[in-house]
């Protein structure tokens, strides 16, 4: 049975939530293009042997093969680097679902996420989005299962509110970019499905082949929230996903700094929360 810990009755402060946290004891699964485990900026945080790659076997079946693998594009390495920078003692585990030769990333994502849920990672980062309605139920069930076994799934949202799974599921912490250049500064969006905003604009990240580059995208905002979640979880390991989300909500800049949550609806282009999210 999953143990839970009570949150402070007065609400969670940033001190209670984050002070002294390093990510130690937390495993963060990066479901992505793979992670270059030997990248010099990852500080050895990647447990390469604990990861897995979704690929075709000799019979043409899509299978999950545990073990080390490389990064097909650099994206997963970038995500891992952000998590590592925020939670340096967290263990990063790569689940590669991109660049596998599969005709549809959806099938790979389902297989990889299913495997990750079985491993009961504390945090599962999905900086991807699929739009296939036919698999929405299956994907939803996987995300719910993750939630019920204590894994927080963090997913990159769509900026325009168009369908993008799994970010649209309530059990998932969905993330878009805020305007801040502070990696620890995050915001709560009162108008779902996107629940949080985090740093994702012009971020200096690790990339393929030992390089670094500067990128923008909700993928990297999700990575920031995953890093923050790893910090919280390392300090309060008994928090269930609901409580973890609550702690992230209560420490959001626009919750701590603005007593009223009447910050407006998240919409595209002009939005009160994002405009105030520097």
């Amino acid at each position: 049975m999953l143990r839970t810990a009570p949150l402070p009755p007065e609400g969670t402060s940033t001190d209670w939530t984050f002070d002294g946290a390093t990510g130690a004891g937390v495993r963060v699964a990066i479901i992505d293009s793979g992670v270059q485990s030997a990248h010099p900026d990852l500080g050895g945080c990647v447990a390469a042997d604990l990861g897995a790659i979704v690929e075709f076997d000799d019979t043409g079946m899509l299978v999950v093969r545990p073990g080390p693998h490389d990064d097909a594009y650099g994206h997963g390495t970038a995500v891992a680097g952000i998590v590592h920078d925020l939670a340096p003692a967290a263990t990063v585990v790569s689940v590669r679902v991109l660049g596998t030769g599969a005709p549809s990333p959806t099938a790979s994502l389902l297989a990889g996420l299913g495997w990750a849920v079985e491993q009961r990672f504390e945090v599962i980062n999905i900086s991807l989005g699929v739009t296939e309605r036919a698999v929405a139920l299956e994907l939803h069930e996987l995300c719910d299962r993750a939630y019920f076994v204590g894994s927080l799934v963090v997913a990159a949202a769509s900026n325009t509110g168009r369908i993008s799974y799994p970010s649209m599921f309530a059990s998932v912490a969905s993330v878009a970019c805020n305007l801040s250049d502070d990696p620890r500064r995050h915001h709560y969006n009162p108008d779902p499905p996107t629940e949080f905003l985090a740093r994702g604009i012009d971020v200096d990240v690790a990339w393929a082949r030992g390089q670094r580059t500067r990128v923008t995208g909700n993928s990297f905002a999700a990575a920031h929230l995953s890093g923050l979640a790893a910090l919280v979880k390392s300090k309060h390991p008994d928090l269930a996903p609901l409580q973890l989300k609550s702690a992230l909500w209560s420490t959001a800049a626009n919750v701590r700094e603005t007593p009223s949550l009447e910050a407006g609806r998240l919409s595209r282009l002009t939005h009160a929360v994002r405009a105030g999210s520097a």
């Binding site: 293009s33 296939e132 990128v215």
Partner: protein, 143 residues
Amino acid sequence: MTDPVHHALADAVSRATGASGAWLVGVTAAGFEVLAAVPQGSLGGSALPRTSGLIDLVAAGGQAMSVSATSTPVESGLEPLLGARPESLLCVPCADDGEVLGLLVALNKQTAAAFSIDDVEMVELLAGIAAVVLGRDRAGSGR
């Protein structure tokens, strides 16, 4: 001859973002096909192979992404036609019901080193329109 709607989409991306160029790229079985390019109209119909570049990543991952001109240039996948890596790039998937049908690509923002989040959002809106257009193209061609 470039489809006028394809051209209009690429042109809208270029104007909205202040990019020096913009492409509408279709996803094919073999890789990609340039459906419209502004201002390099002669690139229409050109094919691009699948590589480990940014356009492949965005097509596979379904998430928009941009790269800044102040960073180490990353492989975009457009190099066979561009002849060089773009300095700054914004790539947005055009997806409809489970399938990425194409990409909208903005190249080399002229007024800043990086495409802004407003640029990303604007191109995502245009990508939604492009997805409908590409879906109808595909339905019309019987594929």
